[in-house]
């Protein structure tokens, strides 16, 4: 009896990566969503730059945060992209084919995560660079001048570098969080609602907490509020957490969600 050697030319993970890449690449939506992440992030950031004013008396605005405002909106598209990578398989029944071909479910999830995060990081890098460039061009015309204590945005500047790299990583972690939740709940609308609810509820609730103790507490446990500390270049000392600790909070949420997703994927029938 001869066993037919199906083209198993690499390790299981490489094969899974290859399969997932083919699926992602051949979906029309992936390209549009990545374009949407860049376009929405850059457009909202540019609008924020153009609407900002730093009067002669000085202002407490943070130019890095301002020119990266669009991340708060662009992340919604990242969530859609990451959720669909999993939910589409369930809604079309493709998941059964996938798991028959690659019975190691965690390998499938890892391959998906690696690819989606890779694509999101690439799109985020383009978006963040464009935002910084626009901020550099627009903000000096709105009072963010050396006379008011603001240098032009430059990637040579340490805190600015941290804000830029951190914002790219932020979107990557949001993608991981979404993948985890999508693997756990499967239905696209429910997963997107849950992730965006989780991201946006903390800034909304924190915004009215007049009790400073509560406010700091809510801000530092929220995945979005804490994660975006990484964009701070002004008043970093007054934040409840350091910028990298803040990003760590988001990472904890993301890996927690991924763990939950992995468990559900492993234990539940597809």
């Amino acid at each position: 009896m001869s066993q037919t050697a199906l083209a198993a030319d690499g390790s299981p993970f490489t094969d899974a990566l290859h399969a997932e890449w083919t699926k992602l690449r051949t979906l029309a939506g992936t390209g549009w969503l990545l374009l949407g992440v860049v376009a929405l992030t850059v457009a909202v950031s540019a609008a924020a730059d153009a609407a900002a004013q730093c009067p002669a008396g000085g202002c407490q605005a943070d130019p890095a945060k301002l020119s990266l405002t669009g991340i708060m909106v662009g992340q919604a598209i990242v969530v859609v992209l990451a959720v669909l990578a999993i939910s589409n398989e369930y809604s079309t029944g493709m998941i059964r084919v996938t798991l028959t071909a690659m019975p190691r479910r965690l390998t499938v999830l890892a391959a998906k995560a690696a690819l989606v995060v890779g694509l999101v990081l690439a799109a985020a890098a383009v978006a963040v660079l464009a935002c910084m460039l626009l901020g550099r061009l627009i903000l000096p015309g709105h009072g963010f001048t050396p006379a008011h204590g603001y240098q032009a945005l430059s990637l040579g500047d340490g805190p600015m570098q941290r804000a830029a790299c951190g914002s790219v990583l932020y979107l990557g972690l949001v993608a991981l969080l979404s993948l985890g939740i999508a693997a756990a709940v499967r239905e696209a609308a429910v997963a997107i609602g849950l992730v965006l609810g989780l991201l946006y509820v903390f800034p909304i609730v924190g915004s009215v907490a007049s009790n400073p103790h509560w406010q700091r507490h809510l801000e530092q446990i929220g995945p979005m509020t804490a994660g975006l500390y990484i964009q701070a270049t002004v008043g970093v000392k007054t934040l409840p957490l350091t910028p990298w600790q803040g990003l760590g909070v988001l990472a904890a949420w993301a890996f927690g969600a991924l763990l939950l997703g992995a468990l559900v994927l492993r234990l539940r029938d597809a």
Partner: protein
Amino acid sequence: MTTITPYRSPVQQGRDGFGQLLRAEWTKFRTVRGWVIGMIVAVLVTAGLAVLLAKSTSPQCAAQTGNGQQHAVACGQPNYTVGPGGELVRDDFDFIRQPLVGSGSITVRVTSLATASGGPNGPQSVLVPWSKAGIIIKDGTSQGSAYAAILVTGGNGVRMQWNYTGDAPGVPGAVSAASPRWLRLTRDGDTVTGYDSADGARWTQVGSVTLAGLASTVQAGLLVTSPVRSVYSASLGSGSGISSPTVATAVFDQVGRTGRWPAGGWTQDVVGADDMGVATAAGRYHQVAGQFTVTGSGDIAPLIAGALNDGPNITVRDYLLGLFVGLIAMAVVATLFMTSEYRRGLIRSTLAASPNRGRVLAAKAIVIGAVAFVVGLAETAGAVLIGTRIAHSEGVNLYPEPWPTELRIIVGLAALFAVAAVFTLAVATIVRRSAAAIIIVIVTLVIPFVLSAPPGIPAGLNDWLLRVTPAAAFALQQPAPQYYQVAANYSTGSGYFPLAPWAGFAVLCGWTALAVILAASLLRKRDA
């Protein structure tokens, strides 16, 4: 030779009325366990968030117990002045007065109004647009009593103001020795009429108001006051504000009176408290040869609620922010109510059973709208009840809401839920995919509001978003009116919206109407 009888089903033919269609859609909704559970969880989560929000806004004042241990207690309630209409007001000004019995009038010329701000570098001359100097007829000297006044302001010309919230414009422009203003108030029964003049000869009536139940003896005279001047870092959400008290000094002459003025001379008085603590009575007022120089600080105006303002910082709207979770849950269910028909192929059965597609959409819209209204009502009323109850038990300084406003907030937000659900259903019918539908709704309805929370976006962009997107409907949450005659922090973070409550709701209704028309037309044209 046999006659063929056509087959007739023994099942009685169902009526295909709209009622049947509604019942079918209601059955589809109620029998999906996940949706019903989702709605119940959403109600519980919003209630939980209302508790969290109420607790997080409660002030913590450390106090010592008998055995020397520190513990948190509720802070004391500040005492607010209540105006004749039941609203919270400020009533602090310098008053050079005499009693006036019965009908009569008072006339005065104002030749100067200058304001200064007390800063670390000593007094500095500043322009305070709503500093006030003029004449007033007031129902006694107690704070919150009825009044009518005609005033020169720092930057808004002559105004007639009455009972704290009333305001009418007179001659525009600033006052100076070269361009003085003549002001006159006449009292006749309960009616007080204000006139102004730029030359003392030709008079124009600015306003005439009825002060119900005005005592026969009133206090009339000169008023000078100047409100706190605040600079907000409005560029970033509800950021921070720096405020400094200001003091106004005005010069009056040519004081004329008609009617019965039994007192021999003028009495110098301060109604309420003084922002600046101007040292001595002599520093406030002197009179030389019929020329009065009066200094005052404070304001006579409605008290503005919300963060960074003088009034109570906490309003009932602060307890309603958990509704976003409920709204997202509602949007998810409304999306699935349509998209799961496509995903499972049920839409073909639905349309075969009721070929009139427009009616199917209408039935779905009515069912999901009604469910959303009930769920929204439960969530809003629950949040308001829980929030106010905790606020009262913890001594939170909560803005007292008049009941019509509270009713508007609760019923309005329930209506917002209903219309938002129909909007979502229409969007889901247009795009047919869950992910696309839910993201369109969240981006247009929820994100514009999230962006206004700190760290926030520039105020200009924020105002624009809350005017044109469906999120404009959140103006229904606005807990207190915005008074243009009081400079304050009217940012979204403090609970003020760029559109009036029902105007904002109309924006959402407009978008919904567009989406429903497009959805109905696409549903008719496309194959299911």
